[in-house]
């Protein structure tokens, strides 16, 4: 940490800031410039408050030197992590494709979707039973009945499944029915939920909040990791910006940034990242070209009848084309799909 003193800070203020640094167990190294003095603070700054020194007289601001996450960082775990989901592995040379409907709506719809995505080449089936919806008047998901259908489909098609969990008290239940638990974008900083999924031993797909920085995503992962669950995958799903031509802005930069900062696998969600089915395939290709370890794609047998996210869902035949496109791009960057 570096403390930047104000231009007109007095010698006494500098001395007091150094005293406070030492009280907290750090070493203080002042550097006296012509216009300002700065104080280098040596020690592990992670446990202290980021603004611990900002309130002292004469201090203008402080700058962190160490990253606030540790277990998630590549510095402390230089090799990439591989997450195993039944027979499938994420974080290897192979790009893994997860696909399926936004919501589970009926046995027929789910079976049809599962059949289609498996045929096309997906390795994991996605489908939501508990749905976080902006409006209380929208379809909120089939709940337990949906989970039962998910297990049934799993058994019939031998497809591992991923589904969202939206409340801490549901974690144990959802973990009985699904192979991967998804923490959605709106819950990325639902710390009670992060604790809960940190205490089970099932893979977790943690989606970046639509308003969250890359560092905050890694801190959310740190919550899960520090609770004992090491099977965490991160998901870039688009962020909120001023642009209204698309539902979100897919942050492709985040893919190589995350690959350099963390050892955790990085999955891309171009369905939410764009919000429009016409854009899903080009952005999926882009994400794989930029280094994503996996994709998660919304596919619906009949998007016009979907109870949620129809506009961004691909029809099965478009999805089959996407898989072919992605395979070629994966090979062009030395991977497979």
């Amino acid at each position: 940490m570096v403390i930047i003193m104000k231009h007109n800070a007095s010698a006494q203020e500098i001395a007091q800031a150094m005293k406070r640094v030492q009280e907290l167990g750090f070493k203080a190294h002042p550097i006296i410039g012509e216009e300002r003095t700065i104080i280098g603070v040596v020690g592990d700054e992670r446990p202290i408050e980021p603004d611990a020194f900002d309130t002292l007289d004469g201090v203008e601001r402080t700058v962190r030197v160490l990253r606030p996450f540790k277990l998630a960082s590549r510095e402390f775990h230089p090799e990439g992590s591989v997450v195993r989901v039944n027979g499938t592995t994420i974080g290897t040379q192979q790009v893994v494709i997860m696909a399926g409907p936004c919501s589970i709506e009926s046995r027929e719809q789910l079976m049809e979707a599962a059949h289609a995505v498996k045929e096309a080449g997906a390795s994991i089936l996605r489908a939501g039973a508990f749905k976080p919806r902006t409006s209380p008047y929208s379809f909120q998901g089939m709940g337990l009945k949906g989970l039962e259908l998910l297990r049934e489909v799993h058994e019939q098609y031998h497809l591992p499944t991923i589904t969202e969990v939206i409340a801490p008290q549901d974690v144990a239940l959802v973990a009985q029915y699904a192979d991967v638990l998804q923490v959605g974008a709106r819950n990325m900083q639902n710390f009670a939920l992060l604790h809960a999924v940190g205490q089970i031993q099932k893979p977790v797909l943690l989606k970046r909040g639509m308003m969250s920085t890359i560092e905050e995503l890694l801190m959310a992962a740190e919550y899960i990791l520090s609770n004992g669950n090491a099977r965490v995958m991160l998901c870039e799903r688009g962020i909120r910006t001023y642009e209204t031509a698309t539902r979100n802005t897919f942050d492709i930069n985040a893919i190589p940034v995350l690959k350099s900062l963390t050892h955790l696998p990085v999955v891309a969600d171009p369905s939410h990242g764009t919000g429009k089915w016409e854009l899903v395939t080009p952005v999926a290709r882009g994400a794989v070209a930029a280094g994503a370890d996996g994709l998660i794609i919304e596919v619906h047998p009949n998007p016009a009848q979907a109870l949620s996210d129809g506009a961004q869902s691909l029809k099965p035949e478009k999805f089959a084309q996407l898989v072919q496109d992605v395979k070629r791009v994966a090979e062009a960057v030395g991977r497979s799909a």
Copy 2:
């Protein structure tokens, strides 16, 4: 709702879109322009998916006509709502000030803060027992022990209290100890939590998410209202923008916008809205001048020792000055404080 067809939509595509409109129970009114056809959709559009028509062939986009919230809207409840908290009322001619430390840290700290804010003129004591923290290594709050201290202070100073609840399973407990439950910015779209606070009969202060729209804030309020709890107050606490000179950008526009769209009282939080104690008083004055019904302010007996949010906490004497400033501004706009 208005459906805007593509420039080159065929007559058949237009007919199919109209058919789908009618299937869903609406009336369809086509208007044929030189370059495009649009279809006016008459009926209550709230229960249908916003993108229900976006996936039909030949449709370019759809535009909502009705606002998606109803119980929260001023159209359906033209008079402003007044929320009662013990003897205090929010939403009247008087601007109500809530103040206190970010976190409860000890009996002494809380007592000292309560004494100071009551002396200065605050009507409600704020203090956190369960803290949503970005880092798992930061102080997470005193939990139940903090709630007990809060009740003790309440009894000693006859100050109503507000505290945050961060998990659905804690709602009943927190409601036993505090007079107002706060749903924090990171939980504004934690729908499980919104359901839970919708099912009690205690006032709720709902903070706007740091990257939530005004409409999403009102939809979150709609969740609470539609579950049966009418005692909802909204809080503008700054949004996330590209500007890094402040922690958040306080959206002063939101105050008059909310006052026109909804009957619910609007509280301003200039502490989080700015993130720097030097800015709290001018922005608090601004918020009241723009029409806020209340303020919520972080005050700490010793900000430099605070376990959270020290940089944005006022010392008691600065807070006392803020109250005096705000009183004068409130009077200038025909209110009191």
Copy 3:
């Protein structure tokens, strides 16, 4: 400046970074932590590139210590500057109100507007002759003819005038006709224009770009100041965010931030800051309560017929009410209007 080395930087990389620091004429102070080494760089960092060290091997990132602006900073000019415009002064105890139509449309319209705003209490008439418009098909302003009308009105009503200049080659011409030159938001980083207005001796109102940080605004002012023109006023006019309920998000935080960072007067534009006439008065009150030195307000005799910005223009009677409201708020914060 502080150079933060990578976690695994070698001793040789640290030595090379220090050597480069010294080559550029600075002193290097290394501080060796347990996880990382940082290098304090002493000297005036303003002339060097911000990323001068970022490309060296082993460097993770660099942090500036000094602010990049100097002439605009309050550190080097602790007293607030007062800008004189004919008999009016901006930057004093009095809040100055500038008002008038977005565009000059005709002699009648301009005369009527000038009469109304003077009657209501405005000190300066605003009106545009050269209009920067998003669409090439929109009204682009009356140009020279408009400037002539502006001078005519000035003479008839003894009202100083402010108008926008949008091209370097027009600066001399506009300076002949108007008392204050406005550099608009879209031109805040039009450096050729900043140079040009820096070389005349007329007051300049520099509007913050809708996408610009406070620091970039001050750097744009620094261009004008460093070219020799000290009569600069800054204007907060709302920034672009994800919120779509308003045209822009008025950044009220920027007012006290600017007052602390710079000696230049700060004017608020709640017309552009909100984009809706219903919101202009409450936000104008808020801006003055937060410390603005002036206001600039769009007023049109008949907004429904305005050739630009009708939706955010006040009718004369609404403007007269705004002035009364603002006077009361100004007095509440120890000023006049």
Copy 4:
């Protein structure tokens, strides 16, 4: 255009709005819903102000139906445009790579860069002579001397050149020396400059403003096209968001969105889009996989000594690797590079 009336609009207000629609030469089609009335406005809405009806009593808001750009739109020019630059064509099956230093610093530097990028496979040399810089104390470019060097290099290496123009009065001069004129992000809405480049017959690369929408980019192109210059290329170069891990957020969604909305070629700038050289190659691959027609890349013989943008400049050997990577990705999506 659709006019949405307020919930409580009176019959008289509706009649007045319809009258105003007709006065402006449009046809008005009212649709009376249970909660609101809407008025469909038929006719070419482009020449009227977007807020022409917003100020009428009883009107809540208006929604455009037609896109505001015409010459730039794919609707009116379904085939993709091809821009010819000497022997090179942009907008074909081949992905074109432009590369070179941010600023021209010396003959040696420019020659070395030109040699390297040509060897590696670039088709066009980029290099800046007039530099828009945030700070007046930063290197502002070599100006005319730089242009002369650019022409010299052009002749020696037979490489077409692209360089930025920052003021209308420089357009004719720059057009004498360079093959493509670049309008930079900060000048995307410098309408005087857009007019000027619209009146020459040289290709223009128009960069998206860092906080401009896709629609605004197309309106800026419309300025150039409507002035008579049809040789326009668009460039996505990253937008400003709340994320601070990268200099900008490269908006990969914009590539397929632009390809659907406009016939103009789309070039990607991953150097500015990321701001960090380590990220340039993965994002370049992603942009091509998503459909970009070209790339523009900063390459410097010695980034650590660069006078601008060193941190995002590739060394020649890294650039050569990028070209190889991009070729493979281009082939995977059915193109060449």
